[in-house]
Amino acid sequence: MNSQANKIIDSFSFFHSWEEKYEYLIELGREMSPLNPKFKNDNYLIPGCQSKVWLYCEKKNKKLYFYGDSDALITKGIVAIIIQLYSGLSKKEILLEDEDVFEIIGLRDHLSMTRANGLNLMITKIKQFANN
């Protein structure tokens, strides 16, 4: 498990009610470095989510860096976590990463109950970037 994942898990370990977890998730979304508005177009949109999700990928020194946004706050928080997890890794590391952080922080159940959030679609997209 990469150190980013550990950091996320650590932060979430303070919260026990789902309300607190969502509150923190929303905070993460709010604090995420913004996506350059020029990438907020249909080319970077992930289709199939109920809220809009944009995801942009940049390659620097053999590592991938992700930037994203969403029009919904909870989704944006999920984007923030995913970016924190995968940004700065090599393609290979991304493809190998299969730890379910959302499971560990206790949100998987909530988030997959509300499938329309596109969590799986986002991870699939990240892996696609790493596969190209």
Partner: protein, 430 residues
């Protein structure tokens, strides 16, 4: 019948009383309704005692099953006041009913210069089929004019936008282009705002230009009395699962003379008189439109659902829903920054009534976030485009939250919903 005893009513719905679900508040009734015990039992009973294929059987069980299936045609006929049971076609749902009319009746008569009219208020099921046959034939699909500019008084005497079809403008359009318009499709009640269209006047207008018309009653049949003879429409449809019945079954009403002109839509067992290697002679409507083994248990279950509605009484259902609606509306109005897209009754007959469907947005808050947080509080609402993207565009939003009630919901549930809604807004607004 005296006013409904809500506890008795709720006790008839296993979903509402089962321990597993006791904490859930089901406000997603426009998507699908819960089922009374009588419906669930009708299905189990069929499979336990009468299960058999129908129509072609000489044996007793087959005859009982056939009779129950065909009796349901009469039950449906009475429910929507059709002229005869032959006007009732069983389908897999409202969606199939509309596709059937589009493909078997409208498409064969379309040519390039023709126009089909539908409204931008329609559910996708009553829009895309028309788009597609227009595309295939080169015909044009145009939107029925909507009154959206006019402000009207809602049930609480407030001003709100009126999203009903503008019959005056439509008449003007038909006066110049009426000869090119080959079909009109419109909703009876909206799945977005619960607004009721004046389908009787609309039908009159269509018929004065000799245009056949389909009314999509998917959101109507569980809420108001439907009388297809009074409306006068050529086609009417709804789904079993939205009127307390099973999934996988629905109804198309069609005037006999028009159904007789249908090309079968699907081909298979039960619809033929004589089959050669290369050709086939078909039976008459409605039998020729129900190819293959139908959803026998589903049809019988839908019959039980209609009996349930009739026993409770649509008048009583309406009364109950009106009271819930007024209560929720008055409370919802007080939420800061809320936009409620609620419809009204263009009939003006019963000024207060529209169906208890509340779609809304809260300023600065995403509908998805709201729905998720409500769901975490066990409040089941819907969010998104509600399969009505063109209506969303009319409203100028990408989606909304929809709380859709049924007569079995309660004020206590509304209170809990409002509390959670306020909590969610607070959390999201930070």
């Amino acid at each position: 019948m005296s006013p409904l005893d809500i506890n008795i009513i709720r006790s008839k719905f296993p979903f509402l009383k089962t321990i597993k679900n006791k904490d859930f508040i089901y406000f997603d009734n426009a998507a699908t309704t819960q089922k009374p015990e009588t419906v669930i039992n009708a299905i189990s009973n069929f499979y336990t005692n009468e299960n058999s294929n129908i129509h072609r059987s000489v044996h007793r069980i087959g005859a009982v099953a056939t009779k129950k299936y065909e009796d349901t045609r009469w039950i449906v006929k009475d429910f929507i006041s059709a002229r005869s049971a032959e006007e009732i076609v069983f389908t897999s749902g409202a969606t199939e009913a509309i596709n059937l009319v589009a493909n078997s009746f409208v498409k064969p008569m379309l040519c390039e210069t023709d126009i089909i009219l539908a409204s931008s208020l329609e559910h996708h099921a009553n829009l895309i089929p028309w788009q597609m046959i227009a595309k295939e034939t080169g015909a044009t699909i145009k939107m029925l004019p909507i009154k959206k500019a006019e402000f009207i008084q809602n049930s609480l005497e407030q001003e709100e936008l009126d999203y009903t079809i503008n019959l005056v403008e439509l008449k003007e359009f038909l006066s110049t282009h009426g000869d090119r318009v080959k079909f009109i499709a419109a909703q009876h009640i909206s799945n977005v705002n619960g607004g009721i269209q004046d389908v009787k006047e609309l039908t009159k207008l269509a018929h004065s230009f000799n245009i056949p018309i389909l009314i999509d009653g998917a959101q109507a049949a569980a809420h108001i009395e439907v009388n297809v003879q009074d409306i006068g429409c050529d086609f009417y449809c709804f789904s079993g699962h939205k009127i307390f019945g099973p999934t996988g079954v629905g109804v198309l009403f069609g005037k006999s003379l028009l159904l007789k002109r249908f090309q079968p839509y699907q081909y298979g067992g039960g619809i033929v008189q004589r089959v050669e290697n290369a050709s086939t002679i078909f039976r008459e409507a409605p039998q020729n439109l129900e190819a293959g083994t139908p959803n026998i248990a589903g049809v019988i279950g839908m019959g039980a659902a209609i009996k349930f509605i009739t026993n409770v009484g649509l008048q009583n259902i309406q009364k109950q829903e009106l009271s819930l609606k007024k209560y929720l509306r008055s409370k919802l109005n007080k939420i800061e920054g809320i936009s409620i897209y609620q419809g009204h009754n263009s009939l003006k007959l019963n000024k207060l009534f529209s169906s208890p469907v509340f779609s809304f947005n809260v300023n600065g808050v995403h509908h998805y976030d709201l729905a998720v947080l409500l769901a975490e509080n066990n409040i089941l609402v819907r969010s998104g485009d509600l399969c009505s993207q063109t209506f969303m565009r009319v409203l100028g939003v990408s989606g909304c939250v929809r709380a859709s009630l049924s007569f079995y919901n309660t004020r206590a549930e509304i209170d809990a919903f409002l509390l959670s809604l306020k909590k969610a807004i607070k959390l999201l607004k930070g």
